[in-house]
Symmetry: C2
Subunit: 357 residues, 2 copies
């Protein structure tokens, strides 16, 4: 019996979470494993019901679980709050820090049947691409000290510190190389070593770690060039290794380049295999409550959870195949609908995947 | 009589610079103004001939001039040097700092005849787009103190400081709003105010400066979202206002999205109107010396110089029209060649533009 903290959050979070749980329930029957869910408030729901984006009881639920299945947080309702108290920053950053979720994995893959959704020219998109962004998630400029404001008038300054230790870089680099060993054995490290001292260390350490993986090819690319190369020819990349802020930028660019944000999942892991699993897209308040949101990103987040935190890789693979089959059969939610699609809503998509299972 | 410091640099720099000077010579005859050129070493050429990427005599030449026309620097020959001594960092960063070139303008425009070169899907590229990136160039994490390395072993850290003052933000924001007043009166400011303290100040100050420009619409977008929106729908942007590092990233993404890097110019200005003008692309060592490089980015850099530092807007406009006409007539260098192009080399492209003048 494994315990799952289920944090649906805001916007479309609750709707798509319901479908992920539906699919997990079907998988339990089929594969004979057992999950116990505890639901808890987070984000705007945390603010509204318990006064803050990450209420203590929610932290406790997560601590007592084997994994966190996370929906999405944020919306116009909470945008007047100071940034640090808003759902996104107030929930995501402290949860990453508290559970030491240093490794963010974001696969950006174009599904075969959906290549035409890729915003790139057909001759560049070709058969799609399959990139894994490995982003350091608990260090860098997001958490570096000091941060603050000084002075007054025109001379007033505000500052942040971008800092990385050798240890932090080694750890995330190993995550990237380990992942590459299971894929096409190619890592591209993204930095700005031509300008930043922290990135000189980044490049040095990544180069050293690469020696432990003689089968893996390592390239280095500057962040500015990376954003260009992704647009010019995404096929050249397999695993992209980035620090926290560059990873934020690059993984979102990769996600958009697939043309189907509603299909992208992510995992944020710590060193013990504990993790938080969430869709790459946001809470989409504009379509919340209408039953039209695509639940696949949330369901794929659940399969990442089965694979990375619960050692249930077979069940995960079976669900993923079921999703591919449903997509290939032309069953699509509105966000990915094309000419000959059968367009379905959130719940019907969940049902179709369960039926295919 | 105006004095121009001509710094051709490395790779294709000298070849394309020759064409820019050819066009400037023709413009002098036509419009009756006079330029005096002083040529000087920079980048790898500086290292090879005078021992450093930005030799003192070159700085003196620039100080005694009314503007700097810059080629491009860097290449494999100098990549073994420590980052701070390499041509790019060793020349560009100190020259920006020395001449206080705080305002970098990078137009990213798709030429009507070359819309099909845009790497985006035809329905997204539509009739192209026309974005002006306004990047702060002498502050932020590029130059912030402290920067350095501490400690040993796994605990060794390396760090950089992202710092902005109210004054610096106000100054670059005014540059962006002034530019917007001459365009479609829309500024999008790129930040990461949901995570970085420096970017909270950025957003505050930009919002204040906007009040001085009631006709201009101001939007704020997070850097991660900006990289996505550019791919999804570049038409939504007009003037993009960014700090130093985000501007580095965003302006390169915009440049690549035009599909014709060989056509993009840039200006780096200080408060007195003095400036450095350079192509957006690099030194392209792979094609250097072959007479095939596209000189248009260098020629357009020269027209920006006429307009911004020499108050010769009419001559600039006439050269720009000549370039458009040559491109529309199908005279193209190899990098932008398409089915029915007349493909020409570097010098022939310069000649064609002079003839059109
Ligand atoms: C909401 C924000 C703090 C967060 C980040 O920048 O990390 C988000 O963009 C993400 O990538 O998960
Ligand atoms: C070469 C490098 C230091 C420079 C920068 O990052 O500013 C370059 O990328 C640019 O944009 O001019």
């Amino acid at each position: 019996m494994k315990k799952i903290a289920v944090l649906p959050g805001d916007g479309i979070g609750p709707e798509v979470m319901a479908e992920a749980v539906k699919v997990l329930d079907a998988a339990q029957k089929k594969f004979g494993f057992e999950l116990a869910y505890t639901w808890a408030d987070v984000g705007g729901a945390g603010i509204d019901n318990q006064g803050k984006a990450l209420p203590e009881p929610t932290v406790t639920v997560c601590e007592e679980s084997d994994a966190i299945l996370f929906g999405s947080v944020g919306g116009p309702k909470w945008e007047h709050l100071p940034p640090a108290e808003q759902p996104e920053r107030g929930a995501l950053l402290p949860i990453r820090k508290h559970f030491k979720l240093h490794c963010n994995l974001r696969p950006a893959k174009v599904f075969k049947t959906l290549v035409d959704a890729c915003p790139l020219r057909a001759d560049i998109a070709k058969d799609g691409f399959d990139i894994l962004c490995v982003r350091e998630l608990t260090g860098g400029i997001y958490f570096g000290d000091p941060k603050g404001r000084h002075g007054e008038g025109p001379e007033e300054t505000a500052f942040d510190t971008l800092v990385y230790s050798r240890f932090e870089i080694e750890r995330i680099a190993r995550n990237a190389f380990d992942a590459a060993m299971k894929r096409s054995k190619k890592v591209t490290s993204v930095d700005k070593a031509n300008v930043l001292t922290s990135m000189v260390l980044w490049r040095e350490v990544v180069t050293e770690v690469a020696k432990e993986y003689p089968e893996v090819t390592l390239d280095h690319v500057y962040i500015d060039n990376a954003t260009m190369q992704l647009v010019k020819d995404p096929h050249q990349f397999d695993v992209l290794l980035c620090g926290n802020m560059f990873g934020d930028i690059i993984s979102d660019e990769c996600a958009m380049l697939t043309g189907s944000m509603g299909l992208l999942a992510s995992a944020s892991l710590n060193e013990t295999g504990f993790g938080l699993y969430e869709p790459a897209g946001g809470s989409a308040p504009d379509i919340a409550g209408q039953g039209v949101a695509n639940p696949i990103a949330q369901i794929l987040s659940a399969t990442m959870m089965l694979r990375y935190s619960l050692d249930l890789g077979e069940a995960a693979g079976t669900i993923e195949t079921a999703i591919s089959n449903v997509l290939e059969a032309g069953t699509h939610t509105a966000d990915i609908a094309r000419e000959k699609s059968t367009v379905v809503g959130t719940a019907a998509m969940g049902d179709a995947i369960v039926a295919e299972l």
